[in-house]
């Protein structure tokens, strides 16, 4: 039975949850397929996550391997293929709790970087799991700065082999997933040396464990890097190489080849690599970043309508905590952000599909813009969503702090997204470099990519809003965001030029501007996200109920951004103090409006109880019952040897006399 405090929230929905779900999924048919996948996965006990919060790192790893192996069978049974419409829902249905993800990266690397011959040799072996692959790039001493990698691959013309070494401790490969305990092969990135000359980083296929008994191959030291904040199910590994020899054919050679005599030949265009990297950054947004925030919102909002605490009015029943303005102000902006970034992701996907089509036609013009957008949005969305999950966790008080709420795991996992696939600050600076370049070009009258043409416009206007309702006009707030992005970019460009003109060296000048450059890059992305959300809402014209609530969320997303960062908008007087008070008023009004639809808005994310794995977030809202029943199953409720060993002697005063 559903908790009446939760079911009452559903009865007053101002829109059709099913229709919104279809909008999020990209059509009702997609919803159907997704649900079928979820149903098939969740009804299979091998994929259960029931004991997850009680398991050790070793147990989590074993379960993930078991699931990965079982998944092969399941896919066959269900008739799911890697190119079928179901495929993209599998990972979500498993909540990512599965091994061999790097095996897929291993295969993708070979497909993208390997010659036709290499593809023909390795891909079938990998597909049939005659080997388990990994991807060994990051080292103890180098992550973001790939040029600094220290692993070496020296070509030996005599034997036609590469000799691989990790010559210093800092050169040791560190972090590769699936490598600590599972992988038999990996792609090692190393500095290529031929006849004493360094040709930079290249990829090599290296076997690291015996296919017979899984023992490390000669010259290989491999193991697991130990406990992490999350990802207990993944065996992130370390790898030392000591004079490990691989044949010449093992250097992935679609773009570069070493000929038998040691001649180095570069062929084809490496620009596609650039594109691959950006694709990865975009592809992680949905499953790794938006899904956790949507789950956190679902858990925290459902909990906030069944948790009653203190009284809003004396003499009345205790109030649902979501009726407190401070609780709304914590949770509803996160909900709005989840929707906003869902649509940003659609926008980025479409842009990338377009980019991919162009690239296939050998047109690489879109690459710089795509790189800047993927870098900036990867950073902005991961940062925003990580902060959002943390807010949801804290908003649930003590119960949010229990692992059984599901929120701690969501947080500790999403946090990693701020670091992997490019550390966020580094990525924002790449976006900023693009912005500064485009800004200079635009001001010089040169053409610039579409997403930055706005930088060309020199405006010194003021915000035209006259009352608080004006701030519910997308034109008004989008313009304000644009203004801030232009101002931050132009003022930082000016500072940079001033420093250089005053004699500061270019690289020092850049470093002295980086804090502000990061601000400019964030403002740029924030502007595009707001603009895109507003445009998306505009297109929903015909679906009245849905459009109205999406419009509210868009307004909230935009006004929350202004309210949380008033200085940027007030700075040059574009927005006046009186206008800022209107923003605040409209923003706070919106909270009360959206609060009414908060539960239907998270219901539309359509997470099953199994996928939430949360005592606070289940569809029926029976929070206390669930916490109690679940806690009783905890291994901490088994008899502890501490009683006989320490407590009993203490209480019975039979400890050796002090």
């Amino acid at each position: 039975s559903v908790n009446p405090d939760l079911s009452s929230e559903r009865q007053t929905a101002s829109f059709s949850v099913e229709r919104l779900m279809a909008l999020l999924d990209g059509g009702a048919e997609q919803t159907r397929i997704r649900r079928a996948v979820v149903e098939a996965i969740e009804s299979d006990p091998v994929f259960s996550r029931e004991n997850q919060y009680f398991q050790t790192q070793n147990e989590r790893y074993e379960a993930a391997v078991r699931k990965a192996v079982h998944l092969q069978k399941k896919m066959h049974e269900m008739g799911w293929t890697e190119n079928g419409p179901e495929y993209k829902y599998i990972y979500r249905a498993l909540s990512g709790d599965v091994a061999f993800l790097l095996h897929r990266v291993f295969m993708r690397s070979i497909s993208v970087l390997g010659s036709d011959k290499q593809i023909a040799k390795w891909i079938p072996l990998a597909t049939q799991h005659k080997l388990i692959g990994s991807y060994a790039q990051t080292e103890l001493g180098h992550g973001t700065y790939l040029q600094g990698l220290e692993t070496t691959a020296v070509f030996d013309t005599a034997t036609q082999e590469f000799i691989l070494n990790t010559p210093k401790i800092s050169a040791m490969k560190w972090w590769p997933g699936d490598m600590g305990r599972s992988a038999t092969h990996t792609v090692v990135f190393a500095q290529l040396y031929i006849h004493g000359k360094c040709y930079g980083i290249h990829p090599f296929i290296v076997q690291i464990r015996s296919l017979q008994d899984h023992s490390p191959c000669p010259g290989i030291t491999v193991g697991d890097i130990g406990p992490k904040m999350n990802f207990e199910h993944i065996d992130n590994g370390y790898l030392l190489l000591k004079n490990v020899r691989v044949p010449r054919e093992n250097m992935l050679s679609k773009f570069c080849e070493v000929q038998p005599d040691g001649t180095y030949v570069r062929q084809g265009s490496q620009k596609i690599n650039y594109f691959t990297m950006t694709t990865v950054r975009i592809s992680l947004i949905s499953d790794e970043v938006l899904t956790p925030l949507m789950k956190a919102c679902t858990i925290a909002i459902r909990y906030s309508v069944v948790r009653r605490q203190s009284k809003l009015k004396p003499g009345e029943q205790e109030a649902k905590i979501l009726d407190y303005q401070t609780q709304q102000e914590k949770l509803l902006p996160q909900l709005a952000a989840a929707y906003a970034f869902h649509f940003t992701n659609d926008y980025l996907q479409e842009l990338f599909n377009r980019g991919y089509r162009e690239i296939q036609r050998k047109n690489f013009d879109m690459l710089p813009e795509l790189h800047a957008l993927s870098s900036g949005f990867k950073a902005v969305i991961t940062q925003h969503c990580t902060a959002g999950v943390e807010i949801c966790l804290r908003a649930c008080g003590g119960h949010g702090y229990s692992l059984l709420s599901g929120l701690p795991s969501l947080y500790t996992k999403i946090l990693a997204s701020c670091i992997y696939e490019g550390e966020n600050t580094i990525l924002l600076l790449q976006t900023a470099r693009f912005l500064i370049k485009c800004f200079m070009a635009a001001r010089a009258g040169q053409p610039v990519p579409p997403s930055v043409t706005y930088l060309a416009a020199v405006k010194h206007g003021k915000c035209p809003a006259k009352n608080k309702l004006d701030f519910l006009s997308p034109d008004i707030y989008t313009e304000a965001y644009q203004h801030v992005a232009v101002r931050l970019t132009s003022s930082t460009a000016a500072k940079l030029q001033d420093l250089i003109q005053s004699g500061v060296k270019k690289h020092d000048a850049w470093n002295q501007c980086t804090v502000q450059l990061v601000q400019a890059a964030k403002a740029h992305c924030h502007y595009i996200a707001v603009k895109n959300f507003a445009e998306t809402v505009e297109k929903l014209k015909t679906k009245a109920g849905i459009q109205r609530i999406m419009k509210h969320l868009c307004d909230l997303f935009a006004l929350h951004g202004i309210f949380s960062n008033t200085g940027a908008f007030l700075h040059d007087g574009y927005t006046s103090a009186a206008q800022m008070d209107m923003v605040t008023a409209s923003y706070l009004d919106l909270l009360a409006v959206i609060r009414k639809d908060a539960v239907p808005l998270v219901d539309a994310f359509d997470f099953t109880d199994q996928s939430l794995n949360s005592a606070l977030g289940s569809y029926d809202g029976q929070v206390y019952q669930r916490l109690y029943e679940w806690a009783q199953k905890s291994p901490t409720n088994q008899m502890s040897p501490a009683y006989e060993r320490y407590l009993k002697p203490l209480l019975h005063n039979t400890l050796s006399k002090l």
Copy 2:
């Protein structure tokens, strides 16, 4: 041998680390005592934390009990007593990794709330550990709102007993530390009923487990609440009571007593309770909040001078990451905050000591101010320090994400401080209520407590700063903080009055102002913290080297607060845009200045390698070696059954045919 990249940082210190350490400790003699305690604890293998990151929740609990029992012996051996100068350093030296902390709260409750007779009976039993106590207040359904607790204690005149019940699942006690597995007794807070009339919440001593075999007593259901984000070493418990009878003498009766015929007698002043609660909030700041931030700063800053990544200038060696402005901007404000709040804590301690002396003289005048300050600062400091630890973690990239860095545990533990002992938002609203009351009183010409007299002054001036150096003047920035605190308080008070005058009911009006009230409370505390830091620096006059660097940190703390919250200062034009640019310039300049002393500034916190328990933060800076050696010891490097069970059949293609 110390990593040369780290030792070079120490050679250029602009001040004496030992002298700064003595300042932080409150004198060189205190430093000596502290070190002696640390030495005694760390040289005892029972107190080792070496395997902590590899242990399960059960193992952590057992180790904590073992340490708690062993500590009794150790204290006896060392001649340490609960009133001795060493006592306060023990918990820090153990990094809080010890059981029976609630046993002390149990004892304190009896001392504060019990009659002389009750104290005489229970305290000796507890002191000799003939029982293990706990403190059962929070319920599944109620945390912050104590009046809503649902546990009942009905007086039965016939048997002269109280009958205790947790009548609903939401009434179940939930979270009490030491209760899940260890405690034999607890203080239960319950609604007292006599002859059908409710007299509100009262404390009762209840035995929950047999002193013979530790089995639950009749009517008692007790257990552990399961896995949490941290605090694995503590057995937070649940407790159900079904017609549990305790004798009349078990109600703690210093302030209230039930006579044999059921007559309820209130005696003495309950105001002391009010004071106890505020004392607890202050007392946790040092060990639970500042220490973790100081450790996180130590780890992240030491790591940032041995980690080299990418190049600042082409052709040069890779740069220490602390030389990047963005890295400085992440870490150095956290360092400044650690110092700022250390001095805030001194200020609060002194205030509370004064308050205590007054209370002993039956003068309760200071209580409202002390309550407001303890609530506000508990919230502001825990929030700020939690965010700071998270920034330190992220600033260490992938290595920060490893449990072996020590940072994840610091984060997951400090996060709880935002929730326990009063949820932060609730606390800030209590401070805000005090501010609004004082503001109204002050404007009406009535006297108000010293910390809020500034609210009386109606000023409409502008910030007088003329160049960026002016913003290094404490008068300039302290005044700016004061202005913002007054503005936020007065504007929210005005909004509140407007709403009420326009017919909105008082409680609704309050709710509609809470987001802004929270802002006002934060601004008030921030102002006091800045002012106190500036005054502390002023008093350091004679100690030149120390004063100079403390002045820099004070400036950084103040300017970082402005830079991060420019809107509050720009809003009414008190600070102009041009002045804000000066703030930014001075702020960024300061980063480069303080960066030079960053390592000596964390060395002064004087954490041993054992207490940091971090592969990144050790005194010698041998980061990579330590990570590698430590990882090899991880249980994840033991043979996994997953190979034989799943990997081998997969690789050998002997899985049952698909």
